[in-house]
């Protein structure tokens, strides 16, 4: 049995976070813009995967909302960071509705507002859905994703319609994205390790038995869903100010599908798995882009095939579900004690071999 040692673990976590920060500092100063953009993407996808895993993996309620909540978060924070003059200039079809046209917030404040608005949306959805049965959550959240696009296209005086919002200040940098990423992971890990987290897992494992032990399943599911929505909304704000242009067509179901792959490959229910897999798949997905672009190898011209990446991804998803359902991590989490024990064992076996 690995030994738990809270003080040592805290110290080790602190040290590794410092290393991560040093790496980010180095990256910020030396890496190309393209690489930095991927790093930012990875941070945003970790935020999304970890919070999406909270409702799907930890609480066991299958939902398909991230694209919708990203959209809500992205639009909310974008609307609040634009200055009144910029709003006047870019809303050409219809001027922006008052009082939104006059309000302007700082970037961090807009992120908080984005999170709160998104969490509120989630709360409104949770009430009809979790009162009945969980499996309608999937279809309601999927439907919400479609509706959000319809609404974003139609309420021109808030969203600028199909034109979208352009020219956002590129506030999102390595420090914001990774700072919020670390904050999110810490929050989720703490929540999961509290009594609320245990209640969420109990609801996943056996809802009836959880209720018979005094757990209000409706409230626990709503908490998990609202909590993950908050961070998905914040991630939306980060994304908007990373790519600086948002439009309704950006937030299709494809985004949700990518996240679903991430949490399934990482191991549904494992926060560690969600993080590892978010890194791997965001990186890998970037590499796989080549499949869809025309390339020439040794003089042969290959035409890119649109959709090929998604065919591969859906095959991976089905394959993992059918043959390797526990994914990379199962439901296990990283613990320092496990790493240390593993290192010790390796040392002793090496000593034996010599």
């Amino acid at each position: 049995m690995p030994d738990e040692n809270p003080k040592r673990d805290k110290f080790l976590t602190f040290i590794s976070l410092s290393f991560l920060l040093c790496f980010l500092w180095y990256a910020d100063n030396h890496f190309s813009n393209y690489t930095l953009r991927i790093l930012n993407n990875i941070a945003i996808f970790i935020i999304l995967a970890v919070s999406y895993n909270l409702i799907n993996g930890i609480t066991g309620q299958f939902s398909l909302e991230p694209n919708a909540f990203l959209a809500v978060g992205a639009y909310t924070s974008a609307i609040f960071t634009l200055s009144p003059e910029e709003k006047l200039r870019s809303f050409i079809i219809e001027p922006m509705a008052w009082p939104l046209s006059e309000i302007s917030l700082s970037f961090p404040a807009s992120l908080v507002v984005a999170g709160v608005v998104t969490a509120f949306m989630a709360l409104l959805m949770a009430i009809p859905v979790f009162r009945v049965r969980g499996d309608y959550l999937a279809i309601v959240t999927l439907g919400f994703g479609e509706v959000i696009q319809v609404v974003a296209n139609n309420i021109v005086s808030v969203t600028n319609g199909p034109l979208g919002i352009k020219g956002l200040a590129p506030h999102t940098n390595i420090w914001w994205s990774w700072g919020i990423c670390i904050f999110t992971v810490l929050c989720v890990v703490r929540l999961v390790n509290s009594s609320y987290g245990r209640a969420m897992k109990a609801v996943r494992e056996d809802e009836t038995a959880a209720m018979a032990m005094g757990i209000n399943a409706f409230r626990i599911k709503t908490l998990a869903f609202t909590f993950s929505a908050f961070f998905e909304g914040v991630a939306g704000g980060l994304l908007a100010h990373l790519i600086t242009t948002i439009s309704p067509s950006l937030f299709t179901f494809l985004l949700t599908f990518n996240l679903l792959i991430i949490i399934v490959v990482g191991g549904l229910g494992s926060t560690t798995g969600a993080i590892i897999s978010a890194v791997l798949i965001t990186w890998g997905g970037e590499a796989l882009r080549l499949v869809e672009e025309p390339i020439s190898v040794l003089g042969f011209e290959y035409e890119g095939i649109p959709g090929m990446r998604m065919v591969l991804f859906s095959l991976i998803l089905i394959f993992v579900m059918l043959f390797a359902r526990s994914g990379l991590m199962g439901r296990n989490e990283f613990r320092w004690a496990i790493l240390i024990n593993w290192l010790k064992r390796r040392k002793t076996s090496e000593a034996k071999n010599q």
Binding site: M1, C187, R190, L191, S194, S195, Y196, G197, R198, A199, K201, A202, E205, D206, T208, A209, A210, M211, A212, M213, G214, I215, N216, A217, L223, F227, G269, R331
Partner: protein, 254 residues
Amino acid sequence: MINLLNIQELAVHFGGLCAVNSLNLRINSSEIVGLIGPNGAGKTTAFNVITGIIRPTKGKITFLGREITGKPAPVIARSGIARTFQNIRLYDDLSVIENVMVAAHSSVSYSFAEAILGFGRFTRDEARIRKRSQELLDLMGLGHLTREKANSLPYGSQRKLEIARALALEPKLVLLDEPVAGMNPTETSDFAKFIIKLRQDTSIGIGLIDHDMSFVMNVCDKIKVIDHGIEIAWGVPHEIRNNKKVIKAYLGEN
């Protein structure tokens, strides 16, 4: 002795089928009451109705003088009724101690915000819950298995874990659905001693369903017999043992 549970004229219908028909039952504190009857007699259904998993068609259930008929399961559980399940329903993928700690959730005083920030009541409550859960596991003889996964335990230990979990709710009444099913005679007699001691130490009321007649006769103060949802006898063990209707219900097919 205080009256805990009082069931009056309880009836449950599924479509056309009548699972329970005008059941009356009282359980007092420090009392062990058995609910027995042939398969399909409606015993588990009665437990499910008491704990709010199924809504009754008719009848009234009060607990400590307050009506709980048709209330949601978590509300009933928090008011002090804990249970185990006939087909063992543990949280399989959670560790043994986590299973017990889940049931203490209703006693947690910290909010989820405090859980995230990790100060104030969080540390104190977590320590209290963990200590209490460990005590209950020790009591059930599972203290050394704290970190195992619940579904890796052998059958008998899983039954004990369910009881530890039920007790973590700090209930006034515990309903045990076939607690000794699958246990060998030694385990069964140990378990009988355990619940008699539990009743003495804590004055909680216990309702139990089981098919092991010698166990039921041995531990119960009073026994209710039902058959096809209808109540056929009520009394102390030796009255039940000699009741003609009961013998007929059990052996009638021959």
